[in-house]
Amino acid sequence: MAPHEIRRPFKRRPISDQQKRRELSLLRQSQHRSDAQQRARNLASSVISLQSSSPDVDPEILFEAVPELDEGTESESSSFDVRQASRLRGPEARKWFARQLMLPEWMIDVPDNLSRDWYVLARPAGKRCFVVSSDGTTVSRVRNGSILHHFPSALPGGARKKGASGPANSYSILDCIFHESDQTYYVIDMVCWRGYSLYECTAEFRFFWLQSKLAETGACDPPSFYHKFRFSAVPFFNCDQSGLHSAYTGSLPYVKDGLLFYNKHAHYHTGNTPLVLIWKDESCSQYVIDTDNNGEVPDQQHIVLELQEEGKLVTSDDPPVPFSCLNADFVKQSGLLSGSLIRFAIGDGGLNCVDGRFEKADLQYIGVSNRARAFADSYSKIMFQYMARHSPLKVEDLASTISHENQQDKTPEVEMSD
């Protein structure tokens, strides 16, 4: 039996950097796992948080008359969240729906691989809205969450009528633009279909599903007693030369308001996302430069920013981009509260950018913004508007980017035939 060696670490750290890296990795992984689970639980929880934060909402109203399901295999709890949300009333409902739309950023520079990774479509002019069909009725809500129409439709579960629209409890959510002149809902995206969530699907899949499923229901048929408004899928194109050309100049049944670009791989992401972009110029939109309440284009660019603690003025992005700062005395004098949305004009000093990032702005205070507004402007909107007034991104720029990409790419994608 040999003596037992004792040797303790001498002038050494107790754990190696490698062990530390290992532990940090585990920590990161478990954090991400729990985030992913949280997201999966999310949609229902957003209803819950509304419910628990507003004691004046009667739970009886929230949970009323959810029909017992005797047949079929679909779990009713899966469809619960949105259908419950559709029963929310007044401000609760607005608050919930205002957060559910995927909002494009404005295109302030051309993304890479436009022709390979992006779709382009001509945005119909009109009100962006979320259309939910469930329990025999259809409700459309505009961007701030307030109701536009409440009507029967041929969408799944969209009318109180037996027929091909599936089981009574099936529901659908569509991302649409309501086009006034022909009273049509132009569908730009599909979020849920017959109780199936498409939130976690790529745009490529959602668009495919939208094109193939919408017509099946008869939703694209002319209006009838059980189908008050016509729906129509917006045509989309691969963003190559011909696709861009079709979207930009092609003749369509609706008035265009700019072009929308969707990254094919992007999921339906609520709130602002750089994976959907909007771009406009004079020839494809009547509304390139923002108008004021009277429909006039003001001399100076107007922007709306949110006031935060200590006078900070920020955009609606997540995280918010700080734009400027208000003097504390001024805030006090004007009785402005943190959280208020404030309108400014951009003065002659303009916006200064360094290396493509915003540096400082010459802002002139106008006043508190219109109360109907739910959000401040996003950074990309402000920049796009500014560029539109000074040095706009032209359709030629988009086209030349694409042709440049094609030259580099020796094996071009199969062209879409349309």
Binding site: R8, F10, Q18, L26, I48, F63, S78, T202
Partner: protein
């Protein structure tokens, strides 16, 4: 009939390779064809005094290797084979072994001792060979002495090999009596006394009952203490080893003896041979370890009901112990800092002093300061180094308030010594001490900062200068920089290091490139410091970190270009690859999110290419590091990571198959999770392969158990990513989860370590269920999960009733309850209402102080309300 094996065994030790190989093959063949005959021949050879010593020794060794193996799987197989032998063979072998203990040849006896212990290790738990202990004990009363010596040695090995609960208390008492009598001063034969003392060291774990008995304990302690005074140095050393073991095993029984032990240890430290003195110091280090643990556990408050009270032996011994340890510091060896394997009395003394400081805190300061003040400027380097080492040693333990003034006064002196002291040894210790200052007294929790605007520049300049010193000194300077950076970990947007960032990075890179960087771990220390500097950097310096990306990638590229390297060079190369992959991992985590993500991702393709090439080099460390880096990259890349999968997949699979280097396997399992979250449904095409491998891993008894809980969690990650497509794996994964759940539901009587494992297993299982439920939500296939609900609810109920889950499990468990209700809804409403979990457990979680548990419980409550209201 036993075959003639002598010649084979001799040939197997031949210097002629061909002869040796042939003999080895013959032995192997013999073992495979006739195990009983083979083992019997070996035992017969070992027992036969007519045979050559060399063949007998090897016979014993081969016999031992036929009974035991390091690798668990193999070991189990060998045990089963032995147990399957017929009784008459086993009896004959046992008899040969016992007979060998009487052999006049010491080596042969010793080999037999070890083989007997191995057989006992297999047979005693099976209640076989019941007469073994009795027959060994009968040897004790025999002459001649060498039989007694061999028997005591056997008893020692036996105690090491078998667990105390398979030996009857009566036999334990007899073994201990025999051993302690053998240690007694009355025993005239030193070999017997040494064997007995070493046997006691092994047998201490058996002495629980005897240490509870005052008289028996007094007797054992007296004999051990007397043995520390034996004229024979080996006996003294072995006796101190016993004391060290007693210090940790029977700490709470020592109050009576501590004064005597102090006197004995002090005398040994001052006067005895270094081998003995080292053990004497180790006794106090062990006492400190115990007290630090106790005080940490009870926060310094002796609550009365805690298992082991703190007796403050260290604190009481301070006036004598500290001077004793300080004396040892002056006995440095000339080149101890250059020798990785060095361990001497000065090093042991300093280490012990550090532990004393941790155990007693502020009280140590006045005992050490006079020594430091007296010696820090002496002309003899030994005195300066000892003073500095003493100072560095006491920086962890005492409060910042107590140390702050002293450290502030010493800082300038230290920086000066680092620049000007002529002694390499003093500089090494000074740089180390600076590192300790930054480690313990610099950071956001310290009220008055040590590093200020006034001295920051000087500190960094001196450290950078020192990095050009000898490798051992430069390594310590890198270590100091590591802690300097770490102190600014949560500094906010503006770091005081920003103005020096570029210079620091440059200097660390130059250090890593020094020709002598492989000495004294210098290169490793340089990259570790670089990692910490990057990890703790702020957005202000992100462009500089970005610039580091191509630099590190180029270095990694260069390591992959090496041609025809020697074994040694290849090993160094692999180590460097590991370091560089580690560095890239840290950088990915730093830059892989906004606002640097876009710029950073431009390098992703190239980086991924390099990592894949690293896998080709087949080095476990580099493999693990590259895998960790890829996990971080997958997270940063998100769905774009899909393009790397076709090439990466085979390495992922290879990692999952690596049972031997289980760390690689564990890390790979984690990366599968990262990949699932990044790719989501796009991971589906790879899932067949991944699931197959994970299921194999779970069924393997070769794989280290610590990897199994993460594999279950990984099921959840996969299910969450691919949703209802997980259907095809349900029939394999659900039964595995179910049987693991049954195993982990009850943990009765387990020790802390087992408890911790059980909880991590439960957590893995629950995370799997969560992922599966959430993955199937909104799918028409949810009804496939309904049959599993009763069992899952039962599992939740039983772990709740067991009352031994930790907070992590609690949060996951209540989440699973919610997920089950959320996904299955009214189908399980009735079942849920019947479960204890939905009432008591839920209520307990709702009123938890831990907000994450409360949040999960609120979610579960709402999901249940919905499920039962429909």
């Amino acid at each position: 009939m036993a075959m003639e094996v002598t010649q084979l065994l001799i040939n197997a030790q031949s210097i002629d390779g061909t002869v040796r190989k042939h003999a080895e093959e013959s032995l192997k063949q013999f073992q495979e064809q006739n195990l009983a005959g083979f083992l019997l021949s070996l035992a017969g050879e070992l027992a036969n005094d007519e045979k050559p010593v060399d063949s007998r020794k090897l016979a014993g060794l081969v016999l031992k290797n036929a009974l035991d193996a390091k690798e668990q799987h193999r070991k189990y197989e060998l045990v089963q084979r032995w147990l399957a032998l017929d009784m008459s063979t086993k009896s004959q072998i046992r008899a040969f072994l016992l007979k060998t203990l009487s052999s006049p040849v010491p080596d042969v006896r010793s080999t037999a001792s070890q083989v007997i212990a191995k057989v006992a290790g297999i047979e005693l738990p099976q209640k076989q060979w019941p007469e073994l202990v009795v027959s060994l004990l009968s040897n004790i009363h025999q002459l001649p002495a060498h039989v007694k010596q061999a028997t005591l040695e056997t008893l020692g090995y036996l105690c090491e090999e078998v667990s105390p609960d398979v030996v009857e208390q009566e036999h334990v008492n007899k073994i201990l009596t025999a051993v302690v009598q053998g240690m007694n001063a009355a025993e005239g034969n030193n070999d017997v006394r040494l064997a007995a003392t070493r046997a006691l060291y092994m047998a201490l774990g058996f002495a629980q009952a005897n240490f509870n008995n005052d008289m028996e304990r007094d007797y054992i302690m007296r004999v051990v203490c007397e043995a520390t005074l034996s004229p024979e140095v080996k006996i003294r050393q072995a006796a101190f080893e016993c004391l060290v073991s007693i210090a940790s095993t029977y700490y709470e029984k020592l109050a009576h003896y501590i004064q005597d032990i102090f006197n004995i240890t002090a005398k040994a430290v001052r006067e005895d041979d270094e081998s003995v003195a080292l053990q004497a110091i180790e006794f106090w280090s062990s006492i400190c370890d115990e007290e630090i643990d106790i005080l940490e556990e009870y926060g310094g408050e002796f609550a009365g009901d805690s298992d082991v009270p703190c007796f403050y032996f260290t604190k009481q011994a301070l006036p004598g112990l500290v001077p004793l340890l300080l004396e040892t510091l002056l006995k440095q060896e000339e080149d101890q800092d250059l020798d990785e394997g060095a361990w001497n009395i000065a090093m042991a003394g300093g280490t012990c002093l550090g532990l004393v400081a941790k155990a007693v805190g502020d009280d140590i300061v006045p005992h050490v300061m006079p020594f430091i003040e007296e010696k820090i400027s002496k002309p003899d380097w030994r005195e300066r180094e000892a003073a500095t080492y003493a100072f560095g040693s006491i920086l962890e333990g005492p409060s910042a308030d107590r140390l702050m003034a002293i450290v502030n006064a010493a800082l300038t002196f230290m920086l000066n010594a680092l620049t000007n002291d002529p002694s390499n040894h003093v500089k090494d210790t000074t740089a180390w001490t600076l590192g300790r200052i930054f480690e313990f007294l610099h950071g956001s929790t310290i009220e008055t900062p040590i590093i200020t605007q006034a001295n920051c520049q000087q500190i960094i300049t001196v450290l950078i200068q020192t990095m050009k010193d000898a490798p051992n000194v430069a390594e310590k300077a890198c270590g100091a920089l590591y802690f300097l950076a770490q102190g600014y970990e949560d500094i906010g947007p503006n770091s005081p290091l920003t103005p020096y960032f570029q210079e620091i990075i440059q200097s660390l890179l130059s250090v890593a490139h020094r020709d002598d960087a492989t000495e004294s771990r210098l290169r490793t220390a340089a990259y570790e410091a670089l990692n910490e500097v990057v990890r703790c950097s702020t957005d202000e310096t992100s462009t500089m970190v970005l610039q580091l990306v191509p630099v590190i990638m180029l270095e990694l590229h260069n390591t992959l270009e090496g041609e025809k390297l020697s074994m040694d060079e290849r090993e160094k190369q692999n180590e460097l690859q590991g370091l560089l992959c580690g560095c890239l991992q840290v950088i990915i985590q730093k830059l892989g999110s906004e606002p640097t993500k876009y710029m950073f991702m431009q390098s992703a393709d190239q980086m991924m290419g390099l990592f894949l090439r690293v896998f080709g080099c087949r080095s476990a460390t580099a493999h693990e590091e590259a895998m960790l880096a890829i996990g971080a990259l997958a997270y940063a890349a998100g769905p774009d990571f899909a393009k790397y999968m076709p090439e990466f997949y085979k390495y992922l699979e290879m990692g999952l198959q690596n049972f031997e280097e289980y760390q690689v396997c564990a890390v790979t399992v984690g990366v599968v999770g990262d990949v699932c979250r990044a790719l989501e449904d796009k991971v589906f095409p790879y899932c067949d392969g991944i699931m197959t491998q994970l299921l194999k891993d779970l069924s393997s008894n070769q794989l280290h158990r610590s990897v199994k809980p993460p594999i279950f969690s990984c099921f959840g990650d996969i299910a969450l990513a691919i949703g209802e497509d997980f259907e095809k794996y349900l029939r394999y994964s659900m039964p595995m989860l179910q049987s693991a759940a049954e195993l982990s539901a009850h943990s009765s009587g387990a020790d802390d370590e087992m408890m911790e494992y059980t909880n991590s297993l439960r957590n893995g299982i629950l995370e799997a269920y969560s992922g599966i439920f959430q993955g199937f939500k909104n799918s028409p296939k949810t009804q496939l999960l309904i049959p599993f609900a009763p069992h899952i609810l039962q599992f939740l109920d039983s772990i709740y009733m067991e009352k031994d889950m930790d907070e992590v499990v609690m949060k996951t468990a209540i989440g699973v309850l919610g997920d089950l209700a959320d996904t299955l809804g009214s189908h399980v409403g009735g079942l849920i209402q019947q479960s204890v979990s939905s009432k008591e457990f839920l209520n307990e979680c709702l009123s938890s102080d831990d907000h994450t548990i409360k949040e999960a419980a609120e979610w579960a409550k709402h999901a249940i309300t919905r499920a039962i209201s429909v």
